[in-house]
């Protein structure tokens, strides 16, 4: 049985920090969780703009 990692995911401590913290998340953590606006232009799928 083989497993070959292809990326760097959100690991457990990071996910728990996103999930449990009551304080404002630092920008870096926020971008790790939801991506930057340039990476994922989520505002409207049907009129998705290529902001690249």
């Amino acid at each position: 049985m083989t497993i070959q990692p292809l990326n760097q995911p959100l690991e457990k401590p990071l996910l728990e920090a996103v999930c449990e913290t009551r304080e404002e998340l630092p920008d870096e953590l926020r971008e790790l969780a939801i991506g930057t606006e340039q990476e994922v232009r989520w505002v409207s799928e049907c009129l998705c703009m290529n902001d690249g």
Binding site: M1, Q4, L10, L47, N50
Partner: protein, 484 residues
Amino acid sequence: MWVSNYNIYIPLHEKAHYLLVHGYTGAVDCVDAELVRALQECFAKHFNASTLNLPPDVYRLLEKRGYLTELSPEEEIAFVGRLARKIHALQFERTEFWIIPSYNCQLRCKYCFERSVQKRGENRGWLTQKMSTELVDAAFAVISTLQGKDANTRITLYGGEPLLPANRKIVQYIVEQGISLGYRFNAFSNGVDVNLYEDMLGPGRIEQLHITIDGPQSTHDRLRVYKNGKGTFDRITRNIQLALSHEVRVSLRVNVTWDVLACLDELAQLVQQLGWDENPNLRIHCHAIHSNQEYQRAASNSSIRKLEPYVANVLCGDQVSCIDNAKVAWFIYKTGLHERGLGGLWSADLYMASLVDKLLTGKPGCALSAISCGSHGGFYIFDPFGDIYPCDRLVGNPQHRIGVFAPQLGWAENKQIWHERTVYNIPTCQQCQFALYCAGGCAQQALLTSSDLYSPYCADYAQRFETSMLVKYLSTNRCANSAL
């Protein structure tokens, strides 16, 4: 330890290997079929993961990347609910504002989703109503109160057609007021009269245009037409050139039907001839005509003949008439068109591609979402009647407005209804492995298909996700591609 409920298994060629993707850690791994069978069986039988009898290093890696979890199935679903709430709060800070100067448009495209609104406007005499300067001031005053910490500083002009000749004066006022407040502008335009706005184009002003063409001239001039049926291809391409000369970034969408796809080579030649493939300010991509549009999407006989060598194999006997983004993306990949570059002309399903890019770029992190789009977050559209809408597909339908911004700001009950349509408020979504990627699907489509905003709209999400993952993985991993 348990097998996670949020594992996504995507078979590679002949199912000897799989892409294993995780629904909330964002992990992506290439695994063999034996491991997939073991994980799926363990999950289906509700066995503890300790029964899997895996090599210790594989077990540890599966746990580290989220495919095995110490949370019980019920605890894991509850955890995803908590995570979704937190993510939703973050997404509310990402505000985005659009302004509609008027609902009018000089074109009568065969498939326009706003046609019913425009017909109503024609019949009742309000189609030509433009936003007043007082409404513009009121919109900017409300925008300043709604700004989130992660706000987009570009305001988007939308319609109808925002850059109509008749709108020039009010658009100039919007742009000047916006610039004085620190904003820059995008516009969704058909491109037909962009030349009349030349003085407003460029960095710091209207700096990005989203323009759509319907393939090369032969198909475009049948679909994107004036009221008198005359085609618009020459005028639009001329204006794209003009915009590029002012350093405007142009996002060019090619609406695709099977007929358009069959003659995209013609467009490719033009793209090269005009030098668009080498212009860094022009981005181009294909997009299947939206599934709810009434326009007949069936291919003509000549297109079927041209596509037949590919359609038969690529679409596995599927009906040619049923085109969607997953099929377009797979078709382009299987026919090798994606390798021809041409400024991205041969890329499709941009929205899904951006998610997959984020997962497979090698940078750490994910792109989790608790909402299917900004309609349930910080996205507000201001129209020429003083109404605020949450969704670009539903503008002009007052039953869907979430508030009014003039003469003073007032919110309707609809605001809460739209803003609370999150993945954690749609019970059937919470257990889905795509929960934090799809997040319930398009609300407007849910309304159309089930009349219930809070029903999920899954459509072909899983297929699109899998196709985009495969195309990205196989395109960038030559070894895997040749081995498979």
